[in-house]
Each structure stands twice: as C-alpha cells, then as structure tokens.
C-alpha cells in the first residue's frame, strides 16, 4: 500500500510524467532530459532521482554520464497499470510532443554544448 502511494506520488508531477514519457522512447542521460524538456539541470536530475527512488527507473553509469531507463522488471505488480494510465493520458499532449521533437535533436554531447542551455 505504501509502495503504491510512493509510486503515485512519484507520478503526480508534470515534469516527471514528461520524463517517463521520454524514457519510454529510449534510455537518456540527464543532459538529454534537460534539453528535451527544456528544464534546468537541477530539475532534471532531481526528478530523475525521485522516479529512480520510486522504482520506476534503472540507472547505468557510463563515464561522465548517468543513463536512466525504464525499469520494466523492477516494477511491482501494479505498476504496469499506472504506466498504461500514463501512456493514455500523455498521448497527443502538445507539451509531450514537443519534448519528443527536442529529444530527437538532443545529443549526449561533449564540451561546452550543454552548459549553454542552462538558462
């Protein structure tokens, strides 16, 4: 029950739903998420962390990068229901479509590229 509440809380936030939607597309590093959602690094990192703590995400380190992806196996039995709900609610959402477009252009870049996006 408390797991469910924690999961629901983790999903009750626009930023986090948008992140989840990106990751349903593919694995992303923090800087890709911040580019795609056009949010600050703090915000991207924090909310990825919250989704991770709630058990939704897997984390893989690769050099400098933290690569987050949906943890399909780690999900408790009821979480698939939640993900279905999220998918249904997000499909066709204007904001989310923009996110995906920006994700196409986003790169896991070298020096100097990401910093410039920090507002």
């Amino acid at each position: 029950m408390y797991n469910l509440i924690r999961s629901l809380k983790a999903l009750s936030d626009e930023t986090r739903l948008r992140i989840l939607n990106l990751l349903l597309e593919r694995e992303c590093c923090v800087c890709e998420v911040m580019q795609a959602l056009n949010v600050s690094q703090t915000r991207a990192s924090r909310n990825l962390g919250i989704l991770y703590d709630a058990g939704f995400l897997k984390l893989r380190k690769d050099g400098l990068w933290s690569l987050y992806s949906i943890d399909r196996d780690g999900m408790a039995e009821y979480l698939p229901y939640l993900v279905d709900a999220v998918k249904k609610a997000l499909k066709e959402n204007r904001l989310v479509v923009q996110d995906r477009e920006r994700l196409m252009k986003a790169e896991r870049v070298g020096p100097g590229r990401v910093r410039q996006l920090r507002r």
Copy 2:
C-alpha cells in the same frame, strides 16, 4: 494530463485509498466512513470531498446524509487502470481488512450514536 495528475494526487493518500476501498464495497455516508476508518468527521468529509472533486465519486443527498459512491461512469478513460492498481495494492492489507470489518458494524444511525465515536 492535468486530469491524470489530479487523479494521482487524489489517490496518493492512505486515508483516501482506504475510503475508495470502502466505497468499492458499497455506497457510504460520511458517518459510516468515519466509523469504518476510525477517523474524525472532518477528515472523512474532507477526503471524500477531494475524491469527489477528482471525479472518482458520485454524491447523492438523502436527508441529512451525503451518500458517496464510486462514479464508474464519470471516470475518464485511464481511471480504471488506477482503480485496478489500487485494488491490487489494497487486497490483504491489514488496515484495510479492519476497515471492512468496522464497516459491517457501522450504521447510518439516528441521534446520539455517531457523536460518541468522535474521538
């Protein structure tokens, strides 16, 4: 999307999950809910209101009583997923089992009975 967030928030609370679980059983008035959950009248009423505002509940007035029940029709397309998730998470939960037992004994009573239960 914002509807989903509102729904998730409405469900991210132990009291409200327990209430929802009662109402999955049958229609209840506020005083039955407070008896079954053993919580204050304010708390029962407020949280029923929150679930109502989120679109989960139907309200029917009968004299003094406000009778709340699950609004199966009024639910948006993704809400059934949420309800399934809730059902799965709550089944076998100790607290929730107690709630149901108290609900059996709870009555929509006349004068003097309910007041005594207010802590």
